[in-house]
């Protein structure tokens, strides 16, 4: 269980995290979602006691990170897979971490086996591919068999196989009753990984809800209808207060602001035959953009460039 209360971090005049409060519960994967620069990594560093909050606090199982005895046994984290000495072997890297928290060397070999790095354990970590480094980072996070796990953008730059492996791994960790917090800037990735979402933008909390709820509330739901009596249907819908636009492909209508059931009932009451009645779910990325467009730190203005007239 992670509880952030009024967490705030200023770097000079820049406000990286602004009065952020959220709760991460055990037994499920919680996605920590926000555009780049939203303050996700800063928040994770504050959870781990690496950065000192300007205000507020974050508690892990009721304690500040610095109060934890042998913290690797409570919290495992992978913030950056490249945080290893390139000329130190994978095994030595894990060995010093294990030793510092009274973890037996046997456990080092166990986690190496778990992430599939046993064969390269004696090789220098500097020569690892991104996927291997990521696995080493996960091995380090699992060393102390912790009940809380933090992963910062764990699938960034991985190939599909690596992404799938990490995703399944997180599900397994959560199913074991652990608290798992995973950050990402991709909602589509989170939708497949997380059951709960904490969404932030510009350091502020935008929402905390289940992933399904978030998508539900964020995306605009529309209904696509086709009918041989298009004009009759359109008039009936407009008369009932719905907004109707033409789909343009095959004479279908797109209805905003009315549930499929209501449309069906309306059509039946007016004796209109329906050939299609299909709810359209807005895409995840649309939903995400919708909610965070106010809070993206770095905008690209490419699409605002005026089209220049060609000389005649």
């Amino acid at each position: 269980m992670i509880e952030a209360v009024g967490l705030t971090k200023h770097y000079g005049k820049t406000v990286a995290v602004d009065n952020l409060s959220f709760t991460v519960r055990p037994g499920q994967v919680t996605g920590f979602l926000g555009p780049n620069g939203a303050g996700k990594s800063t928040t994770m560093r504050m959870i781990l006691g690496l950065d000192n909050p300007t205000g507020g606090q974050v508690l892990i199982d009721g304690k500040r990170y610095r109060q934890l005895h042998r913290p690797l046994r409570t919290v495992g984290a992978l913030l950056d897979a490249k945080w290893v000495h390139p000329n130190r072997s994978a095994r030595s890297h894990l060995r010093w971490m294990a030793r510092s928290n009274g973890i037996a060397d046997r456990r080092v070999d166990e986690v190496l086996e778990l992430v599939g790095l046993t064969a390269v354990a004696k090789r220098n970590a500097g020569g690892f591919s991104l996927g291997m480094s990521q696995r080493l980072g996960i091995a380090a996070a699992l060393l102390g068999d912790p009940s809380v796990l933090l992963f910062d953008e764990p699938v960034n730059g991985l190939d599909p196989e690596g992404i799938l492996w990490i995703r399944n791994f997180m599900h397994r960790l959560a199913a074991e009753g652990r608290t798992v917090l995973v950050s990402s800037h991709l909602l589509s990735e989170m939708a497949q990984t997380a059951q709960e979402l904490v969404v932030i933008g510009r350091g502020k909390l935008i929402s905390q809800s289940s992933t399904a709820e978030f998508i539900e509330q964020a995306s605009e739901n529309t209904v696509r209808v086709r009918s041989p009596q298009v004009d009759l249907l359109r008039a009936a819908l407009l008369g009932d207060g719905a907004t109707v636009t033409d789909d343009g492909v095959d004479g279908a209508l797109v209805v905003h602001g009315m549930e499929p059931a209501a449309i069906g009932e309306l059509a039946a009451a007016r004796g209109v035959t329906l050939h299609e009645l299909s709810p359209q779910r807005g895409s995840l990325e649309e939903a995400f953009m919708q909610l965070t467009k106010e809070s993206v730190e770095y905008h690209a203005h490419g699409d605002e460039v005026p089209v220049q007239d060609l000389p005649v």
Binding site: G49, L50, N52, A77, V84, H85, S89, M97, R99, S100
Partner: protein
């Protein structure tokens, strides 16, 4: 205790400390053998002369110590370190103990190695440690290395970048302290209180500076006894280290 083991694993599981150790031994011993081979009746070999190269080893040891902390910042392992042990003072002190012990041992090995090789090259010259001054000349090198390592660690903690920390140490020890003499009148007086000069006074004090380290017309007059000089050097080093630890505790990792 466990933290000492942790820092020992960290230090010796990469290659650069091994190379630095080797270099810190080879330079003073190599220089001693060249000096011994070229000594004659006009240029007699003495115990203190065999230790001429200690500065080279000291510089290398300070580079090793600075690297021990700056590479942690360079590669981000400092975050893992503080994640594993959130009470930052503990791992930093453990690192200081391990690095200082190594520096001390290397210093003693380099000093006695330099003396030994000189004896081998010039068996006729009586290079015996008969006086306390001669003992200090040789056995003191390890103590100076140990203090130098503390100082370099402190600078490394404050600067956090290898290039920055190493250049500050090199410029300070090799350049700045010697250039102070250029200031008329007070230059020499200031020099008497500069840490590396005072450390040199600990090793070679009590006899006229044989190496003319300063080279200027006016000789530096030290106000401290040789052992007082060591305490002074140790105190300055420890102060820098403590500032480094305090600042590290306050800063974001």
């Amino acid at each position: 205790m466990t933290l000492l083991a942790v820092e020992r694993i960290k230090l010796f599981s990469t290659r650069s400390p091994w190379w630095c150790t080797l270099l810190a031994l080879a330079l003073p011993i190599g220089l001693a053998s060249i000096i011994a081979a070229n000594s004659n009746s006009d240029f007699p070999l003495t115990v203190s002369l065999t230790q001429t190269g200690y500065t080279f080893g000291l510089i290398v040891i300070m580079v090793l110590a600075a690297l021990a902390i700056t590479t942690e910042y360079r590669f981000g392992t400092i975050k893992s370190t503080f994640q594993a042990v959130p009470n930052r003072t503990a791992p930093l002190v453990a690192k200081a103990v391990v690095v200082t012990l190594l520096a001390g041992v290397v210093g003693e090995a380099a000093a006695f190695g330099a003396l030994g090789i000189s004896k081998l090259i010039k068996p006729d010259v009586a290079l015996t440690l008969s006086s306390s001054t001669e003992w200090r000349n040789v056995a003191g090198v390890g103590l100076v290395y140990a203090c130098g390592a503390l100082l370099a660690l402190g600078v490394g903690m404050l600067i956090r970048q290898t290039a920055g920390a190493v250049s500050i140490l090199l410029v300070w020890a090799l350049l700045a302290e010697n250039l102070v003499t250029l200031i008329p009148k007070i230059g020499v007086k200031i020099q008497a209180w500069l840490p590396f000069h005072v450390a040199d006074h600990f090793l070679n004090g009590g006899e006229p500076t044989p190496r003319g380290r300063d080279g200027g017309p006016a000789a530096v007059v030290y106000h401290l006894s040789p052992w007082g000089s060591l305490l002074y050097f140790a105190g300055v080093s420890l102060a820098v280290l403590i500032i480094g630890i305090v600042v590290t505790n306050k800063r974001d990792a």
